[in-house]
Structure formats: structure tokens, C-alpha cells
């Protein structure tokens, strides 16, 4: 199903492969550097970080599992950490699924039909992407209180469900699909909703996958709005919780770095799950006329 072009094992081809792969090896080494440094720091006491900065050696003598055993130790901090972790997982999963579906259908409507309000609505979509959230914060907060959504997870996710950038991405993606798919299906008597779900949606898998990853990332890392809506430490999400470790009165590096490193995990799993759909993509047969 991939582009199966001539796969001659010529020396030129091998050289190219070494070059191409080598390029990514180098790029990834550079990109991974801060993460490796962070990972190493998470195995050291916070005072080591102060003492030597981001030392990139594997000096076992200074390394310790203490930060992680503390994090998993079942003490009050560790209970809180996993409570925040769970909250973040719930919020992220629910909002990713809902956002993807809603945005897909909105984008579908904006792309596949030629209707009166189309350009106006699309303009609004783009415009809402350009508003700095900080100036909406106060009025939005008042509104959420009036709607009785304060201190609820629904209040946290509801404002992001119609994410303009996600709609825009789907629109750009769907616009690239051949329109004759639609007319053909209509001739066959399929109704509009059936086409959108059963015919076009499967073709948009790569878009779903990349937007899924993006939305998950946004939801997982969101801090300002969840913080305004939620009250009480038992409802906090992970980024809010981790941020409480940074104070003007000193930072708790021990837990902060270990906690952040372990916090990458779920979102990384989501990435691994979704990214294979990007590879799948459009099979040659599906659209070839």
C-alpha cells in the first residue's frame, strides 16, 4: 500500500538510505538533548541541579531513584500527584474525542457545501483563532459562573470543543479530497450524514490522527483556564499541580522534574497510538478514478 517503487539494492540506494537516516539521527540527537538532560536531572537530588547545572554525564554516584520512589511512595504528595494525573487523563481523553468529532463535522460542513454563510463563518473561524485569550478571561469567567459550570470539568472543556485551529486544519485537509466522491455517493442515494461519516471520515484518518495528538497535547498542558474554573486541589490537573511546586519562596526541583518527566508518558502513548494512522493515510486505491 505504500509507494512501492523500484527497490533496487543498488549502492546508490544504500548510500542514500544511510544519508537520509543519518540526517534524522543527528537531528534527533540535538532535539533529544534537553530531554535527556531533564531525564538525568530527574535521577539526581535537586541540589545537584543547582550545584552543577544540567550536567550531562552518567555519573552513577550522584544518581538516585529517590525522586521517583518519593513520587510513587504513596505519601501525601504522591497521592496528590496521581490524583492530578487521573484528572488530567479524564479531561484530556474526553475533550480530545469530543473536539475531534465536533470539529470534523463543522469543517465538513464548511468544505463540502457551497452555502450562503460559508465564507462568513469561515472568516469567523479564522478570526476566533486570533483573539488573545487573556482579554476574554474575565468576561468568560463571569459567564461560566452564570451558566453554573464553575468548578466542573465540563466548564473546563466546553470552551475548547469548537477549536478554531482544528476546524481550520480539517477544512484544509478535506478541501484536498476529490469532490467526485460526494457526487458519486449521492447518485447512489447515500444521504449527507451517511457520506460524512462512512465515506469521507475514513479518508480523513491522517488528519484525525495529527489533530488528535495536537488536541491531546493542548488539553494535557492547559493551565490558565482550568485553573480559573476549578477550585480545590482534588480537582486540579497535572500542570496546575506541578506549577504549585514553583514558588517565589523556592522551587521544589526534586518532585517537579521527576513529575514532569513522568507526565510526558500518557501523552506519548496517545502519540504512539495515533501516529500509525498518519502512516496509513490514503491508500492509492481508495481515490483513484
Amino acid at each position: 500500500m505504500k509507494k512501492q517503487r523500484t527497490l533496487s539494492r543498488s549502492p546508490k540506494r544504500i548510500a542514500l538510505t544511510i544519508l537520509g537516516t543519518g540526517f534524522f539521527v543527528i537531528l534527533c540527537l540535538i532535539i533529544a538533548f534537553p530531554i535527556v538532560a531533564g531525564l538525568l536531572a530527574s535521577f539526581r537530588p535537586g541540589t545537584e541541579l543547582i550545584r552543577r547545572g544540567l550536567a550531562l554525564d552518567f555519573d552513577i554516584s550522584t544518581m538516585t531513584l529517590a525522586n521517583y520512589t518519593y513520587l510513587f511512595g504513596g505519601n501525601v504528595d504522591s497521592q496528590k500527584y496521581f490524583m492530578w494525573y487521573k484528572n488530567s487523563l479524564i479531561i484530556t481523553l474526553v475533550s480530545v474525542v469530543l473536539t475531534l468529532l465536533i470539529c470534523y463535522f463543522v469543517a465538513y460542513g464548511l468544505t463540502m457545501y457551497d452555502f450562503k454563510l460559508r465564507n462568513l463563518l469561515f472568516t469567523l473561524v479564522i478570526a476566533t483563532m486570533m483573539v488573545p485569550f487573556e482579554i476574554l478571561m474575565l468576561p468568560l469567567y463571569k459567564e461560566i459562573i452564570k451558566l453554573h459550570l464553575i468548578d466542573t470539568y465540563f466548564g473546563v472543556i466546553v470552551i475548547g470543543l469548537c477549536s478554531a485551529s482544528t476546524i481550520f486544519f480539517f477544512r484544509q485537509y478535506l478541501g484536498g479530497l476529490p469532490k467526485d466522491l460526494l457526487s458519486a455517493a449521492r447518485i447512489d442515494g447515500a444521504n449527507e450524514y451517511y457520506i460524512s461519516v462512512k465515506i469521507i471520515l475514513p479518508l480523513a484518518k491522517p488528519a484525525f490522527a495529527s489533530m488528535g495528538i495536537l488536541c491531546a497535547m493542548g488539553a494535557w498542558n492547559a493551565i490558565l483556564w482550568p485553573l480559573l474554573v476549578l477550585k480545590g486541589a482534588e480537582k486540579f490537573t497535572l500542570p496546575i499541580g506541578l506549577n504549585t511546586l514553583l514558588t517565589p519562596y523556592g522551587n521544589n526541583y526534586d518532585v517537579l522534574i521527576a513529575g514532569s518527566m513522568f507526565g510526558i508518558l500518557p501523552i506519548f502513548i496517545i502519540f504512539l497510538l495515533f501516529q500509525k494512522y498518519i502512516i496509513d493515510g490514503m491508500t492509492a486505491g481508495a481515490v483513484k478514478g
Binding site: 509507494k3 517503487r5 540506494r13 542514500l16 538510505t17 537520509g20 534524522f24 539521527v25 537531528l27 534527533c28 532535539i31 534537553p34 530531554i35 531533564g38 547545572g53 544540567l54 465536533i102 460542513g109 460559508r118 463563518l121 469567523l124 473561524v125 479564522i126 476566533t128 486570533m130 483573539v131 488573545p132 487573556e134 482579554i135 476574554l136 468576561p139 470543543l161 469548537c162 476546524i167 481550520f168 486544519f169 484544509q172 485537509y173 484536498g176 449521492r186 449527507e192 450524514y193 491522517p206 490522527a209 495529527s210 495528538i213 506541578l242 514553583l246 517537579l256 522534574i257 514532569s260 507526565g263 501523552i267 502519540f271 501516529q275 498518519i278 502512516i279 493515510g281 490514503m282 481515490v287
Partner: protein, 297 residues
Amino acid sequence: MKGKNFLYSQKVAPYVFVLPFILSFAIFWIYPLITAFTMSFQDIGAIKTEWVGLANYTKLLKDKVFMIAVANSTKYMFFTLVLLIPFPMLFAVLMDSNIVKAKGLWKAILYMPALTSVVISGTLFRLMFTEYKTGQMNIISQALGFGTYKWLKNGWSGMLALLVVACWRWTGVNMLYFLSGLKSIDSALYEAADIDGASAFQKFRYVTLPLLKPTTIYVLTISVYAGLAMFLESYMLWAGNSSPNNIGLTIVGYLYKRGIEKNDMGYACAVGVVLLIVALIINFAQLILNGTFKKED
């Protein structure tokens, strides 16, 4: 049954599809947007709020610090466009070709930075760019015989640090956009090009590039706004919103200074409105030029 037919008609269906957006816009955007806009004409105090007409805007035009912020944000946006569109696109094309092995691994690593919380990546980069001798940048510079340098105190190196953080975080994400864009390209086109004896460059130039256009436009649009609205990276790099001679101050950083740190929401809203207008102008100009609003045939 009649109602069902009505809902199923090709005329009504689009409205059903876009209904969630219309609802969300009506509920969560109109009121806050209007409020924010009115606030930009007010002096909002803790006890009383007064109308001040255009005073916030006229003050803004005279405000030297705001001009620094605009210049920084614009510069940053420009460089991120230069760095974060062509390179991730090339990386995606390369990644999509069959000369790269172990693709999953590289993609995973490239995407990792975006997953790391800004709190932690900011701290890591601050330690790397510190003017103290233990910073990685200074270790390199000392090894090259230049001695230590105050990376976060000089304009050019401060911008460099911001761009390094930006490239580090977003290269993988933008590559991801392009990768999924590449998947919407019918492979038959490449086969046809192969038959015509096109070179790799020609295939890129005449097949990939034009067909990636929708994705490129998308990345361009969000990058324009993301560049203009950058704040967190600067906040983390300088451990706060104050940088020497404001080399790291951005428009949203300034909005924070006014709105949050000094609680002058009226003035902050004026800053926000200006940002909104600038971003809108750039993006609509760009979208119209690119033909995004044109009816497709």
C-alpha cells in the same frame, strides 16, 4: 418523515454540520468579545470604572515599551516563519520517502519536546543559556575559546535563545502537519511522474509543493498568530516577565504586564485588540492572496 427529509436535504445539511460552531460562537465568543472590546475604552479600577474614550489607544501609540514588544514579536514571528515552515516540510518529505529507516523512532523523538511542559523545558533552557559557566552554551563557547557570554542579556542572543526554544518545540509538530498533508496526496501522481521520468526535485516542485499548499497555508496561518502571541517561552527563559532592556518582551507579555501584573484591564484589552487586528490583517491578506476564500470548482 417530512422533517427528516428536510434535515436530510442538501440545502439544510451544511447548517446542521456547522451548528456546533454557531452555538459555541454565540455563547462563548460574542459576549466576551464585545465586553473585551468595550473594556478597551475604559479605565477599569477596583472601585469604579470610567469611560475614557480612545485614551488607552492614544497612550499605546506613544508607549515606547509597547513598540519594543511589537518589534520583538514581529521579529520572532518572521524568523519562526522562515525556520518553522520550509525545514519541517523538507523533513516531512524526507521522512515520507523510502530512504529513511526506523521512522517511528525519529518521529517519536521529534515530537517529544512538544509534550514536555513549558515549565520544565523553560527551566532546562534557562540552565543551558545561563551566563554562568555551567551552561551548555557557555561550555561550547569556552571550548571554542570565546569565554563565557551573557546569552540572555543581549538582543541578538536573546532572540536566538527564543528561536532555539521555538524550533526545538515546534519542528516535530509542524512536521506532523506536513506528514498528514502528504498523505492526502494521491500516490498515483508520483507514479505518473515516475513514468514521465521526473527527477526527485521535479516531483517535489511540481507534485508535492502544490498539493501541500492547503497544509502550508494552515501552518502559515497558525504560525503567524503563534509567533505574534508568543509569551510563555519568554516567560520561562527569563524566569519571569522582565528581561534586560526588554529584549524578551512580547506583545502578550506586555498585555500580561498591564492586565495581570498591574491589573489595568482596560489598557490590556487595548493591547489585545491591537494584536487581534494586526494578526487578522496579516492572515486575511495572506489567505486571500493564497486563494483560500475562492470557491472551489
